[in-house]
Amino acid sequence: MGNEAPSAEATTDVDFPAVQQSAEFQQLRRKHRSFVFPVLGACLVWYLAYVLLASYAHDFMSIKVAGSFNVAMLLGLLQVVTTFAVTMWYVAYANKELDPIASDIRTKIERGEEVK
């Protein structure tokens, strides 16, 4: 099968409230939320700012940067760049900070050990 995750039926006897209350799970939850909420919030504000500039700051967006390449195009391409950058940042963060805790909790539950 190549996948060690048990099926949904096998987890019915897990004490989920206890796991949820454990310090380890709370740490995972905090690390997840303290990354995704602020980062996504910042990205949405940055996108909203771009849309508002395009709608209401026509003269600013029309300033030429290089040849006929203007601020509007620069900001549009920067949106693409920040989207790529945030994607890679999240992947690095999740691999380093989230995945080890998640897999540790999973292993403990599967072995029937207590999650602390």
Partner: protein
């Protein structure tokens, strides 16, 4: 390359050789059909049929997501919009891309960890099964229906452009053939077949757009600024095409309308049922994460290509020739292909455009069929205990029914102005689905009443507002095509700016006002499962 000569060729008739276009498309169909048949040998269980046995890798699924997401509207539509109205077309694509961050950060992994086949699996996990599942299935079907109708109606327009078929009967015939092919793919191939069609299409589309992009840049000495200058020159010296405002900046209403559209695009993507369902085709949450990363790279690169292609079409074909061609702005990309590589490149791009419609329609159909068979039939009608094999049988029948509805809808909507349907599908997804997805994943107190009010409130407000908007009545360009019928009391063409906050508010207020508490144990289970992946649905063992 003579612009005047091209202009004359484009204005007189559809360029290229229809038989060559059909031939290349036929080759695509033949290759994909073989793959679908080969992939369909293991399609017995619901997990095989809906989720391809959860056997795809992140890279494969990411390509399929790109194939599912980059519809004809975003290829032909955005290139055409940039060619005709300049920069504002690019604004549209940025919204489509940034939206993926919501999917990556909030939805993809948590959904893979908690659900099984459909969006409703997640939404009803810790709330009352029957009412929440029915509501989620209804919003799924509505979003899929609007999106499907837009794709099928677009197929009619493409036919006249690419195959030179201008009579209604001929176009209806082609729509029927496209619909029948789609039914065949989904019926036989299930999610596995659909996924392969989407992967092949994504590779062809992105490679084709990439070749054209390099070509356009090469023609302009790899100087983007020079390309912009020639686009301005070909547009009669109108430098405004390089700046925002030509399309969305004409009035205060149109500015707010664009903000409303942007909101729906950014918040709707992560709540589109056919996108969500793709996350179930991978074995783990980690692969779901990789899928989104792949999708973001492919989609982002593609939209940068469209910027070059749009201005390239303006420069090398010219806005006047594009406007005069059958299909209008949608013909910008095919005409650019013709200007660059002659009939063969045109045939290739045309075939890719058809493949696009086929792949997107197939993805929508399997999503709608899964939602009906799994949420309504198996979970509600049979109370979670359907007879062995009955669920997949129902799903297959639903595929045929939806396929027939899509064909009839496509023929009926052919020639109608239904371009607003794609934006509406995003607005409905953002209003009816996203608040409940986020609340049920992240807000402990959230309850059934809040979910129902939010889902139905978002769905109904989005649809009622669009019905009362200028896209349905009030002008020659609206759906009813008459100035005398005018009930457009809502000034915007995009309801998102009202319906999305409304749905979030309804979910929040109703939850706080109603005293009902949900099962706390279920909430614990959902939160632990969503973040750790314990008990996630495993891949099938074959």
């Amino acid at each position: 390359m003579s612009a005047t000569l091209l202009h004359a060729a484009a204005a007189s008739s559809a360029p290229g050789n229809p038989w060559l276009n059909i031939g290349i498309f036929g080759a695509f169909v033949a290759v994909t059909l073989v793959i679908v048949f080969r992939a369909s040998r293991n399609n017995k269980t619901a997990s095989d049929y809906y989720a391809a046995g959860r056997s795809f890798t992140g890279g494969q699924n990411g390509s399929a997501i790109a194939g599912d997401y980059l519809s004809a509207a975003s290829f032909l539509g955005i290139v055409g919009a940039i060619a005709m109205t300049g920069y504002d077309g690019f604004l549209y694509s940025i919204g489509f891309l940034v939206a993926w961050l919501v999917a990556l950060l909030l939805v993809a992994e948590l959904l893979r960890n908690t659900g099984k086949f459909t969006m409703a699996d997640v939404l009803s996990f810790r709330l009352q099964q029957v009412p929440v599942r029915i509501a989620a299935a209804i919003t799924t079907l509505v979003v899929c229906f609007f999106y499907l109708l837009a794709q099928m109606a677009g197929a009619g327009g493409l036919v006249s452009l690419l195959l030179g078929i201008s009579d209604t009967l001929g176009q209806s015939l082609v729509i029927t053939v496209v619909g029948a092919l789609m039914i065949l793919y989904v019926l036989i191939g299930g999610m596995k077949g659909t996924t392969w069609v989407q992967i092949i299409k994504a590779v062809l589309l992105i490679a084709g757009a990439g070749v054209m992009t390099v070509w356009v840049l090469a023609v302009n000495g790899f100087d983007f600024s020079r390309l912009l200058d020639s686009a301005v020159a070909a547009s009669g010296g109108n430098a405004a095409i390089l700046e925002p405002g030509l399309k969305y900046g004409v009035s205060d209403i149109s500015k707010i309308d664009f903000i409303s559209l942007g909101l729906a695009l950014v918040l709707g993507t992560a709540a589109l049922p056919h996108v969500l369902m793709r996350f179930y085709t991978v074995p783990t949450a980690n692969e779901a994460r990789k899928s989104v990363v792949w999708a973001i790279w492919l989609i982002g690169i593609f939209y940068v290509f469209t910027l070059v292609l749009g201005y390239g079409a303006a420069a090398l074909v010219g806005p006047e020739a594009i406007a005069a061609a059958p299909g209008g702005p949608n013909s910008a990309a095919p005409l650019l292909a013709f200007a660059l590589g002659g009939p063969f490149l045109l045939g290739l791009i045309s075939a890719i455009a058809f493949a696009t419609i086929l792949a997107v329609v197939a993805g929508l159909t399997i999503t709608a069929a899964a939602s009906f068979a799994h949420d309504i039939y198996a979970s509600v009608v049979k109370k979670g205990k359907p007879d062995a094999g009955a669920e997949v049988k129902v799903a297959r029948r639903t595929v045929v029914v939806i396929g027939i509805i899509a064909i009839l809808g496509g023929i009926g909507a052919n020639g109608q102005n239904v371009a607003f349907l794609v934006a509406l599908a995003f607005a409905v997804a953002a209003s009816a689905n996203l608040p409940t997805i986020i609340y049920s994943l992240f807000w402990k107190r959230f309850n059934t009443q809040g979910a129902l009010w939010s889902m139905y409130g978002g769905l109904i407000s989005a649809i009622v507002l669009i019905a009362l908007s200028p896209v349905v009545s009030g002008s020659e360009t609206s759906m009813l095509k008459s100035e005398s019928i005018d009930f457009a009391i809502f000034p915007l063409s995009n309801p998102g700016i009202v319906s999305i906050p409304l749905a979030f508010l309804l979910g929040w207020i109703v939850t706080l006002v109603s005293n009902k508490r949900e099962d706390a144990r279920k909430q614990s289970e959902m939160e632990v499962r969503s973040l750790t992946g314990i008990g996630a649905e495993p891949p099938s063992a074959h």
